[in-house]
């Protein structure tokens, strides 16, 4: 694989860029693989990559129904943070954030990880108390966050209106090492490196059936024919339930549309990521200059990748209140992604009732930030056929045991 660098760019520039190879190969599927990953989004590609990198397993096919990174990897608001409350969440999200820091170098692909800082606003006394608890939990678990005062918030984000009027900013949790990355590049970078390892990435290939022998996986039926494998892992986010149905079991998952939008590009006005949970809105500015805005998910099951205007309206209203100067900027584009919500809003990295079949799903509205850590933990699970420390808390049986990992409940209750 040709190395990406300044010198290769210069060399190519003088020969009409004719020397650049395909970023990832376009092979036909083989008859059999050791491992099949179903789902060519960030999580699936990362899983394949860490199987190769950490365990030398390269006889892998990543099967993608559409185009790689075309699901939630290419539809999110690109926020990376690990300022979670529960220890198990902190474990996987911080691992992920840590891997993001050097991902460009690891992949030899500039994924533009940009630790511009993530600010989580507290706009009620209750939220302030809950966030203080989170900050303590973060510190004990080695996540670099701190509480900042309203004045410090104003200093970090001069365009914010900290005085309300409805919900004054009472403080914020600041994670300076959080930030954003270029979402498409994460998928492309992993794909390129996977391809370099000899992993087959097969696009436009839909899984239509699951082949089992006595409750043990033997392969999958696809739109490009049958492919055998010793191990299979579903990494299909919003479409996980469709796959699990083919494999004969159900998941504690519901698929809903999550909405996001961008504004027209403008010169930099906000440097970090701001999340306002009381009013439901996230805001950051991309390197291109667009304001990237995310908000709530629709309340009903949906696979149509388009959603209601309702939540766009609520989110924009909240952000216009919080950042009044954005009022005269214009919405350029809105879109929806199908996110997979579990009963406790935490992910699943788990064995399944079918031997040799594993699943990674349930990342809901927050999967992008978890891609490297999730891939790392899932690779470990697939290789050992047992979860490691990172994945263990996220097994599916937590629901029947009552062992929920509930991040949101803590913030949702007011006195």
């Amino acid at each position: 694989m040709k190395k990406y660098s300044i010198s290769s760019i210069v060399t190519e520039a003088f020969r009409d860029n004719l020397g650049w190879e395909k970023a990832w190969a376009k092979p036909k599927p083989k008859k059999e693989y050791e491992v099949i990953i179903v789902g060519g989004g960030g999580h699936g590609l990362a899983t394949a990559y860490y199987l190769a990198k950490n365990y030398d397993v390269t006889d892998i096919a990543v099967i993608e129904k559409g185009w790689i990174g075309g699901g939630n990897t290419g539809r999110n608001t690109t926020i990376i943070r690990s300022n979670y409350l529960q220890e198990s969440s902190i474990g996987i999200y911080e691992k992920s954030r840590f891997l993001y820091e050097t991902l460009s170098q690891d992949l030899n692909y500039n994924i533009m990880f940009s630790p511009r800082g993530v600010l989580m606003l507290c706009q009620t006394e209750h939220e302030l108390r809950a966030m203080k608890r989170t900050s303590h939990a973060n510190r004990i678990n080695g996540v670099d966050t701190k509480m900042v005062t309203p004045d410090e918030v104003k200093e970090i984000v001069p365009i914010i209106n900290i005085d309300g009027p409805r919900f004054p900013v009472l403080g914020a949790l600041w994670q300076p090492r959080g930030g954003t990355a270029r979402h498409d590049a994460v998928a492309w970078g992993y794909a390129r490196k996977c391809s370099d390892y000899g992993i087959d990435i097969i696009e436009q290939c839909e899984v239509v059936g699951v082949k089992k022998k006595r409750e043990k996986i033997v392969g999958v039926e696809t739109s490009k024919g049958q492919i055998k494998a010793k191990k299979v892992c579903f990494v299909a986010a919003g479409h996980s339930s469709v796959l699990s149905e083919l494999a004969g079991f159900r998941l504690p998952i519901e698929s809903v549309a999550l909405q996001a939008l961008v504004s027209e590009p403008i010169k930099p006005i906000i440097d970090c990521v701001v999340m306002a949970n009381t009013v439901h809105g996230y805001l950051s500015q991309s390197d291109k200059g667009e304001l990237v805005i995310g908000g709530g998910a629709d309340g009903y099951n949906n696979y149509s990748q388009r959603g209601s205007f309702l939540h766009i309206e609520e989110t924009v209203r909240a952000l216009v209140e919080t950042f009044p100067v954005i009022s005269r900027l214009r919405q350029l584009r809105q879109w929806g992604g199908i996110v997979d919500m579990t009963g406790d809003r935490s992910p699943i990295i788990s064995k399944t009732p079918v031997e040799g079949l594993f699943i990674n799903c349930g990342w809901g509205t927050g999967g992008f930030k978890a891609i490297p850590g999730s891939g790392w933990a899932t690779a470990e699970l697939i290789y050992n056929e047992e979860p490691g420390n990172l994945a263990a808390p996220f097994s599916m049986d937590r629901f029947s045991e009552g062992r929920l990992i509930d991040e949101s409940a803590a913030a949702a209750v007011a006195h």
């Binding site: 990406y4 760019i9 190519e12 520039a13 009409d16 860029n17 004719l18 190879e21 395909k22 990832w24 376009k26 185009w67 075309g70 220890e87 170098q105 692909y109 500039n110 533009m112 990880f113 940009s114 706009q123 006394e125 809950a130 203080k132 608890r133 989170t134 900050s135 303590h136 939990a137 004990i140 701190k146 492309w188 027209e264 590009p265 010169k267 930099p268 390197d287 200059g289 149509s304 388009r306 205007f309 309206e313 924009v316 209203r317 216009v320 100067v325 009022s327 005269r328 900027l329 214009r330 919405q331 350029l332 584009r333 809105q334 045991e401 009552g402 062992r403 509930d406 409940a409 803590a410």
Partner: protein, 995 residues
């Protein structure tokens, strides 16, 4: 150079001069001019710099598809960046500034990017800036961020008024061109409500504008009679200046109305229209041919050049070359020639054409070269000359023609954006070279039936004759499909069959353009995406159209690829050696045209943003210096500081007044839900963890609710008003949630129970009077007897204070002798004042929510949301006593038997006393054991009563640790040590509240 003709221009009022400024220069235009037409009239050809290479750019179109001419317009609160100059009318003293350049539009430092363009091919930034790691954050990215973006953001708060308008209609016609007008006429008198939205300020689209002079009278008559008919029809509403921007599920449509002009007050409204069916008549957008150096100022779409001439009397230049592949574009050459402008040559990509317009142009003496196109354009910041080359071959220049304007047309692309928003599919029309609506895969409504019909240009039907021929027929079919009984609509076709030839599609010329030329052939102007970029994307395996788009940023600029997308798809398909229809197209997303975020927020901002709920005591609170705390939708008095009193002192004073004398609390926000009916007790037994059906009339009982997962959900006191009626109090924040919870279980699970539920939270207000003197204060009102045997703890009575009806609950959340008085909300303020007056000699003081929290923490009472976080069971809180063993079933019962809820290690509620009594534990800090967190502080205060710090916390197996000391980490990195105790610090035996 561009200039204004001495006469002409259907849109401008030449009587009225308008002064405006462009980049500080004072310029003049006419009333009715757009910024674009006024700039052209003033010979401002260079008006913008592109996004990536900062290339000089001019006005390219005359509508919302404009990729180049984006301006910062206005000042102060009304400044707006990135406005398309083609869409905004000039106003007196309007301040217009070009964007994305430094130090000036003419000399832009970053146009150095243009010189380095060789290194900045598509996706170059993914391949570099990788090492050293820190450089991305500190050097490269800040550099890129500064360079990117377009306009500047406004600095001041927006003072514009926005409005949302709601509307319902049977039929929405989008677009008021010939197709839209005909459709509207055909739909009248059928008993349907019809709305027609036209984005322009006049109806008619292009048909009248582009007609031949000999047809003008006839066409005009049709137009005028049609407008008259529409005006007279009661069932047809026409909205001008209203652009439909988004179509959503079940016929939900968004439209943006913006009235502008000299004598109009600007109005910006977002229409939310619920429609049954949509007739799409959005016409088509002209498509450029991509040729070398095609982005220089002075190059414009052919129809747009015509627009400026016809509507504004403005000439793009006085020596214009037309390059095209279709007859229709000849109109531009002909009309310019007719006003005496030199058209040295028309370059026609076709081998030949004998259409009437071609003949007419020839007859006017215009030189027409078939099989030729532009191989290069000379000029630095504007067109000076074009080099002619053969369409076949690599583009060797045969002849240089000096000129100062170029009009380009590659035919028309149906404007299908809205068709796709809600699931409509497109098919590739290979003959004409565009995607058009697939009549078999239409958007569907809630019933699963087709709810959209595309007519006219947006369906790929361009000629007036065909439109007039098809539209009535299609509308009749449509009406019969809807089973609408009415006469068939017939309209005589006044148009003659047009003889213009369908042009074979042409996208990029010359066909064999050399590598060098491909690097100068721009597809997406704003984002500087060139033919070579798409080729590189294809070469590197970004074969899917979505990958190619994201890799090159094609079609992702503010014009959303309106003039570039098809050309881009074509280049991609050629590079991959595939046909266009196998490539597909990217998804069209709302909005069709960018809309202000402030408009989306609408009128629901500032005071109308989540309106604050206020209690009846709010006015008094406000006058008496309350500081506020938002609690759910309410605002509550947090504390009542006196002048020159710091908050700490205020809280101490308020707490001690309750402990020593008497305090008054506005607790009106408390949730109050009445549950009534023969089965009310049975219902509540299922809802609460403890037994409610055994509660005696006249008594109160504290109750806890869990969810099915076994976690505490809400709590509060339940009073049994009579045999069949219970009043359930909830937390302030939980009222709506608990009410919905009750309804859900009653309606969907236990619907056999005879129960009614009503949320009375706002009907009753509640005032707590607490402290050792509370009884004395109330006894000053002669009508009540509150002696302990008449009203014991956890009982209530109904009585009058003076003539105000009250329900007096003897309950306590402070641990003191305490009464809570429920009163009809309209009399709450009166009662509050009476109580204050009566309590004056007992030194009664109002206290706020924070004192309330300190008081309850001293007593060791939990607050749902502080001591609980959605993962805490009653057992964790040491409240096993409230979980009924007797009841057969209640919500949460099953969960209490799950393994994890009975785990060996669980966090349990304990009291925490710091060894250093002055040291208050930080909110939410964690207890450590061997460096591992084993729990956290849930509530922590300095207790004015005990004169020491107190805290509650959830600690792993906390109850068995009572008596031992633990280390608590604080953010100051210095540990605090504290002893675990029983979670009650004050009056543990309860003699005060019970006395």
């Amino acid at each position: 150079m561009s200039s204004r003709l001495p006469r002409g221009g259907s849109r401008v009022n030449r009587e009225k001069l308008v002064d405006f400024r462009f980049n500080g220069k004072n310029l003049k235009g006419f009333d009715g001019d757009t910024v674009a037409s006024a700039l052209l009239a003033n010979n401002e050809l260079l008006v913008a710099r592109s996004f990536k290479y900062h290339r000089p750019r001019g006005i390219f179109t005359a509508g919302e598809e404009e990729p180049n001419a984006l301006m910062g317009i206005g000042e102060g609160s009304f400044f707006e960046p990135n406005i398309r100059a083609t869409e905004v009318k000039i106003k007196q003293n309007m301040n217009v500034n070009s964007q994305n350049h430094w130090p000036s539009l003419r000399f832009d430092f970053l146009s150095i990017n243009n010189l380095l363009a060789r290194f900045f091919a598509a996706g170059f930034y993914y391949k570099t800036f990788i090492w050293p790691r820190a450089a991305w954050k500190y050097i490269f990215e800040p550099m890129i961020r500064r360079a990117s973006g377009l306009g500047k953001a406004p600095k001041e708060y927006d003072e514009e008024h926005y409005e949302h308008i709601y509307h319902n209609t049977d039929i929405l016609i989008i677009g008021g061109g010939l197709a839209g007008i005909t459709a509207a006429k055909a739909l009248r008198d059928r008993g349907l409500s019809v709305m027609l939205c036209e984005k322009d300020s006049v109806m008619g689209g292009r048909y009248l504008q582009d007609c031949k002079s000999e047809d003008r009278e006839r066409y005009k008559k049709l137009y005028e009679s049609s407008i008259e008919i529409l005006k007279k029809s009661k069932d047809i509403a026409v909205k001008l200046n209203t652009c439909v921007t988004g179509i959503f599920d079940h016929g939900f449509v968004l439209a943006y109305e913006e009235n502008q002009g000299l004598n109009v007050t600007t109005k910006k409204a977002l229409w939310k229209i619920r429609v049954k069916n949509i007739i799409l008549c959005t016409g088509a957008i002209e498509r450029p041919i991509v040729f070398p150096d095609n982005d220089l100022p002075g190059i414009m779409l052919a129809a747009s050049a015509r627009d400026y001439l016809q509507k504004y009397g403005v000439l793009l230049g006085d020596r214009l070359v037309l390059t095209t592949n279709n007859d229709y574009a000849y109109k531009t050459a002909i009309e310019l020639k007719q006003v005496g402008i030199d058209v040295p040559v028309v370059l026609d990509a076709r081998a030949s054409s004998d259409g009437p317009l071609v003949k007419e142009a020839g007859a006017l003496g215009i030189r027409i070269l078939f099989g030729k196109c532009i191989g290069k354009v000379e000029g630095k910041r504007k067109v000076d000359a074009v080099g002619i080359c053969s369409v076949n071959g690599e583009g060797t220049i045969e002849e240089l023609i000096s000129c100062n304007a170029v009009a380009v047309s590659g035919g028309w692309t149906p404007n299908v954006n809205l068709w796709s928003h809600c699931g409509g599919k497109l098919i590739w029309d290979g003959d004409l070279g565009f995607y058009r609506p697939d009549p078999d895969k239409t958007p569907v409504g809630k019933d699963g039936e087709t709810n959209m019909l595309a007519l006219g240009g947006c369906a790929g039907v361009f000629s007036n004759y065909d439109i007039q021929d098809q539209v009535p027929r299609k509308i009749n079919q449509f009406a019969s499909r809807l089973k609408i009984k009415s006469k068939r609509y017939i309209e005589p076709n006044i148009f003659s069959k047009e003889l213009e030839r369908n042009a074979p599609p042409v996208f990029v010329l010359p066909y064999g353009a050399s590598k060098d030329k491909q690097k100068r052939m721009y597809i997406d102007f704003q984002n500087d995406v060139k033919v070579s970029d798409l080729q590189l994307a294809a070469q590197e395996g970004f074969e899917n159209v979505e990958h190619a788009k994201r890799y090159t940023t094609l079609g992702m600029a503010t014009d959303q690829g309106k003039t570039s997308s098809i050309n881009g798809i074509y280049v991609l398909s050629q590079s991959l050696g595939k046909s266009v229809d196998t490539i597909g197209h990217t998804t069209f997303r709302p909005p069709y045209k960018p809309i202000p975020l402030g408009l989306i927020a609408g009128q629901y901002t500032k005071k109308l943003f989540k309106p604050i709920k206020k209690t009846p005591i709010d006015k008094w609170n406000s006058i008496n210096n309350a500081i506020w705390e938002p609690v759910a939708d309410w605002r509550r008095a947090y504390a009542y500081p006196k002048v020159n009193e710091n908050l700490e002192d205020t809280l101490h004073r308020e707490v001690l007044s309750v402990r020593k004398n008497v305090g008054l609390l506005d607790s009106s926000t408390l949730g109050k839900i009445m549950v009534k009916g023969p089965d009310a007790g049975q219902f509540l037994d299922l809802i609460y963890t403890n037994m409610m059906s055994s509660l005696k009339t006249g008594k109160c009982r504290y109750g806890l609710m869990c969810n099915e997962a076994g976690f505490v959900f809400d709590d509060g006191v339940v009073a049994r008003l009579n045999e069949q009626t219970f009043l359930c109090h909830t937390t302030s924040g939980g009222a709506d949630r608990v009410y919905a919870w009750f309804e859900e279980w009653l309606q969907t699970e236990w619907h056999h129970l005879k129960v009614f539920i009503i949320n009375l939270t706002e009907q009753y207000s509640q005032i707590a009077i607490a402290g050792p003197k509370a009884r004395e204060v109330l006894q000053t009102f002669k009508s009540i007897d509150l002696s302990p045997d008449k009203l014991p703890f956890m009982h209530f009575m109904e009585t009058y204070i003076d003539d105000i009806w009250v329900r007096v609950y003897r309950i306590s959340f402070s641990g003191e002798l305490s009464y809570e008085l429920a009163v009809n909300s309209n009399q709450a303020e009166e009662l509050w004042n009476k109580l204050l007056k009566a309590g004056k000699k007992y030194k009664i003081q109002p206290y706020g929510t924070e004192a309330l929290h300190i008081l309850r923490a001293e007593k060791g009472f939990i607050v749902v949301g502080d001591e609980t976080d959605g993962t805490v069971t009653p057992q964790d809180l040491g409240m096993e006593w409230i979980v009924s063993k007797k009841k057969n079933d209640f919500i949460g019962k099953k969960a209490f038997s799950l393994p994890h809820l009975n785990a060996r290690v669980r966090k349990q509620l304990v009291g925490i006393l710091t060894l250093d009594t002055d040291k208050v534990l930080p909110d939410g800090c964690h207890a450590l054991e061997d460096g591992k967190a084993i729990g956290h502080v849930t509530s922590t205060y300095f207790s004015p009563t005990l004169k020491r710090s107190i805290a509650l916390g959830l600690i792993e197996n906390g109850r068995s640790r009572i008596g031992s000391a633990l280390e608590f980490e604080s953010s100051s990195k210095e540990s605090i040590f504290a002893k675990l105790v029983d979670p009650s610090f004050y009056d543990m035996e309860g003699s005060k509240q019970n006395g």
